[in-house]
């Protein structure tokens, strides 16, 4: 009796579950209908273009139909992997995206925590505004400012260094290959630090003041309070931002590299996207360009998994 009842209830549970899904779907048909446009949007803009990847396996000629294209298999990928320049650009892409993540993520947190300790509210607000304004300046302008500042001909940085007697000849920042990654990273931080700190400042503002008071009573100094209350308090926010940043590893873009670079540092400034643009679209070699693009995506996915792996190890939480 007991067994049959159990068996019965089990089979009915499955039936019920099946039923409930369709029932729920029916009940929520308006919700499904409402989400449909977004599903279509994602499909059209994120999945349909993947069809263009077929170009990488053809000798694509514009203007003729898909069926008339000449198929060449993996030829373009083989050419790509034999290309020295490709490895250079790959190295540069990886290096600059990691530097960007490492510093572009940690510095705003430190900045937000420190700024939060500032008592004077007017001063605090002024600093905040000043630091996030560069976010709205385009890279063209930023690149102009950076080259001007690092110029050997009356550039501010060189003037200061010479005035302090650290160097006796102007230093050619923009002409040194080894400095390029650093310059890109620092100018990126200068541009985005304030903006990225806003969200952390908001999170800090939401922390319960009682916690601080309690800590104070217990004799915790300022540093202790930062370490034991502020940081753990904004931990969820940090995680969310990290997830978003990892997602953006894919798009390190090429404007900064293009605008700040010059022919002397090209071995350190050319990134995959720029390479795809120059050799793909620039020369009308659509197939080769697509092959680079595909590989770029592969790199991004690899980066994503790597970052997620590290993340999981330290936080026991997974992004994906």
């Amino acid at each position: 009796m007991e067994i049959t009842r159990k068996a019965y209830s089990k089979s009915s549970a499955i039936q019920k579950k099946k039923k409930t899904f369709w029932k729920a779907a029916k009940n929520q048909k308006m919700l499904y209908a409402m989400s449909l446009p977004f599903v279509i949007w994602v499909f059209v803009f994120n999945y349909l273009p993947v069809w263009g990847w077929t170009m990488a396996f053809q000798n694509f000629t514009p203007g003729i139909s898909f069926f008339e294209q000449e198929w060449v298999g993996l030829d373009h990928f083989i050419a790509l992997f034999q290309d020295e320049r490709f490895y250079l650009t790959l190295r540069n892409t990886l290096a600059m995206s990691f530097l960007g993540l490492l510093f572009g993520f940690t510095i705003p947190i430190i900045f937000a925590i420190l700024l939060n300790e500032v008592r004077h509210s007017l001063f605090k607000r002024t600093i905040q505004t000043i630091t996030y304004l560069p976010h709205f300046v385009s890279w063209v302008v930023v690149a102009g400012i950076v080259t001007k500042m690092l110029s050997t001909d009356g550039g501010v940085v060189n003037d200061i260094l010479m005035g302090m007697g650290i160097i006796d000849q102007p230093f050619q920042f923009m002409a040194k290959e080894n400095w390029f990654w650093g310059i890109v990273t620092v100018s990126d931080i200068w541009k985005e630090m304030g903006w990225n700190a806003i969200i952390f400042l908001a999170a800090i503002a939401g922390l319960d003041p009682q916690l601080y008071e309690a800590a104070k009573v217990d004799g915790a100094n300022r540093f202790r309070r930062m370490w034991h209350i502020t940081l753990p308090g904004i931990r969820p926010t940090i995680l969310v931002v990290l997830i978003l940043n990892i997602g953006h590893l894919i798009q390190i873009g090429f404007e900064k590299q293009m605008l700040l670079g010059n022919s002397l540092v090209v071995d350190y400034s050319e990134v995959l996207e720029l390479y795809a643009l120059n050799y793909g679209i620039g020369l009308g070699e659509f197939s080769y360009g697509t092959a680079i693009g595909i590989f770029n995506s592969v790199v991004s996915i690899f980066l994503l998994f790597l970052a997620n792996g590290i993340f999981k190890r330290y936080s026991n939480q997974s992004v994906m």
């Binding site: 000629t61 514009p62 203007g63 320049r85 102009g144 080259t147 001007k148 110029s151 050997t152 001909d153 009356g154 102007p170 050619q172 923009m174 002409a175 010059n262 022919s263 002397l264 090209v266 071995d267 643009l277 120059n278 050799y279 679209i281 620039g282 020369l283 009308g284 070699e285 659509f286 080769y288």
Partner: protein, 555 residues
């Protein structure tokens, strides 16, 4: 929940509104597209060059054109020669009515352009008259003799100012007693002497030699000086042997090493601006305008901005004179070596054009004698006057022409419209025997500043061009200019060229900036790198292209 509903409905309303607005725009587009033969029509044109003087058909000249033809041009200007946008157009398959390209190879391959030959034959008497026999040069290839690209070059041009040279400040030559400036060595000693005399100018450090090397300008100013200093004429990255038509990547000529070695020496001695290969175009122009760059080397069109800024600021003694400097006296400057009619770059009508006949008629109108005069001189009674049957620019107007930076924009004169059609060059005369362009010898002399006249007189000439070997001294190049031969999209020459250029742009500046004892080493590394990138194959293919062109044009 109620709040949420409110927000959602708001979002929906905004979305709906923007969608409606978008639809409305479309309708408007359709309405303006339709235009009949007598009515007005808007022709879109993609222009591979920038034009900061574009006047939106609102200037007096622009208005007159609209009135005469009913055509309103709607150009889209590009900052990088259409390198990205033209391939994107091809990929999307949507074209404007006309495209002004720097070589239509990709477009022809994609069958985006229509054959202009029958249209010119039927509707364009003025263009036919202007180009005459040389219309032959516009044929595409042996297999396909269609005309896809109508050149926009100057016809029979005898430019009043040379297109390349070494530029030296008037103040420098004046103070040094007008030394002869004919070779790189002369140039070097002039710069050195003056720099020693004046370590600072207006309180800022004197810069000996600076050059504009921002992006593509590194080719036109710095890299091209390799062949310009050693008796070559401008064929882009290649040097073409005038007898055998063999193409050589010009750096591979042993003699050019000497030129770049000279730059290296200049750098070692601190006479070369240390920022030469780092500075952007605006930084360079600003330096020229500050009046402390003693000399520069490059084409004339990279000098206009700096020169006019100096003139406007009244620093006329800091403006530049132009000298035909070469490596040594065995070579002469080929700045005036004529290409003949330049074919390759120019305007095309696309297959998407609303009305190709209207388009060609419009271009023909621009090429007519009457319009050409208007585009050069302006409107009679407004920008020039006729005195005793001769066109004369009044003093007041000339003042504006010389000193008002926005003159072209305000009037519509000049390259605003001339850029779209073949146009008569300097020195060509119209049916009344007067020159069609404003740049006559007399005008050129009138436009000089006092100090410029003084310097020229000291060198015993009237114009800078008199220092140069004249056009008649060189035979017309049978292949035109090699750089505007369009490379078939299927050929791998494009990739080979790009690779060679990548190597060049990196290693030549490196060679110049290194210490003199390492120059040889880097230069030979440059040579081996070029070979590794299959430059010999590229040269072979290029030679074939040149030979094909010579054959096509001379039949």
């Amino acid at each position: 929940m109620k709040e949420l509903k409110k927000i959602f409905s708001l979002i929906f309303i905004v979305a709906l509104l923007s969608f409606m607005v978008a639809c409305q725009d479309n309708e408007e587009d359709v309405a303006s597209d339709s235009g009949d033969d007598d009515g007005t029509i808007e022709l879109t044109v993609f222009d591979s060059d920038t034009n900061s003087d574009w006047e939106e058909m609102k200037s007096p000249v622009g208005q007159k054109i609209v009135e005469d033809t009913g055509v309103t041009l709607k150009p889209e200007f590009d900052i990088e020669g259409g390198q990205t946008k033209i391939p994107l157009m091809i990929a999307s398959g949507e074209y404007p009515d006309m495209i002004l390209s720097k070589g239509g190879g990709q477009l022809v391959e994609a069958e985006a352009l229509i054959d202009l030959a029958p249209l010119i034959e039927e509707h364009a008497p003025n263009i036919k008259k202007m180009l005459g026999e040389e219309l032959n040069r516009l044929k595409w290839s042996k297999e396909d003799p269609s005309i896809y690209v109508l050149t926009n070059a100057a016809v029979e041009n005898q430019a009043m100012s040379p297109n390349f040279g070494a530029w030296v400040q008037h103040a420098v030559v004046k103070e040094l007693g007008y030394p002869k400036i004919r070779t790189l060595e002369d140039l070097e000693s002039v710069i050195r002497e003056y720099k020693e005399l004046h370590p600072t100018i207006d309180g800022q450090k004197t810069i000996g030699l600076s050059m504009n090397t921002d992006e593509w300008r590194i080719q036109s100013a710095f890299l091209n000086s390799g062949f310009m200093m050693t008796g070559g004429s401008d064929d882009g990255e290649y040097f073409i042997d005038p007898e055998t038509f063999d193409a050589t990547l010009h750096y591979r000529r042993p003699i050019e090493k000497k030129v770049f070695e000279w730059y290296n020496k200049m750098n070692a001695e601190g006479l070369l601006d240390s920022e030469t290969f780092v500075q952007k175009h605006d930084q360079y122009t600003a330096k020229l305008a500050s009046g402390r760059v003693l000399a520069t080397i490059g084409p004339d069109y990279l000098m206009y901005e700096g020169q006019s800024a100096l003139r406007e600021a009244g620093m006329e003694e800091r403006m530049y004179g132009q000298y035909p400097v070469t490596l040594n006296e065995d070579y002469v400057s080929h700045a005036y070596h004529s290409n003949g009619l330049q074919a390759g770059w120019g305007i095309s009508i696309t297959k998407d054009c609303k009305d190709p006949v209207r388009a060609i008629k419009f271009l023909d109108y621009l090429a007519s004698e009457e319009t050409q005069i208007m585009l050069n001189w302006g409107i009679e009674g407004e920008h020039y006057e006729i005195v005793d049957g001769k066109r004369v620019i009044p003093e007041e107007e000339r003042e504006k022409r010389n000193n008002d930076k926005d003159y072209l924009k305000k009037t519509g004169i000049g390259y605003n419209f001339l850029r779209y059609v073949p146009h008569w060059g300097d020195g060509v005369v119209d049916s009344t025997g007067q020159t069609i362009t404003v740049n006559t010898r007399e005008e050129a002399i009138k436009n000089q500043t006092d100090i410029e006249k003084e310097v020229l007189a000291a060198y015993d000439v009237e114009l800078w061009k008199d220092l140069y070997p004249a056009m008649e001294e060189f035979p017309v190049k049978a292949w035109g200019a090699a750089y505007n031969i369009s490379i078939p999209a299927s050929s791998d020459l494009k990739v080979l060229n790009q690779r060679a250029l990548d190597v060049t742009k990196k290693l030549v500046p490196e060679a110049v900036l290194t210490s003199p004892d390492q120059f040889d080493e880097i230069w030979s590394k440059f040579m081996t790198n070029l070979e590794k990138n299959n430059i010999e194959k590229a040269e072979e293919e290029y030679t074939q292209l040149i030979k094909d062109r010579v054959e096509l044009w001379n039949n």
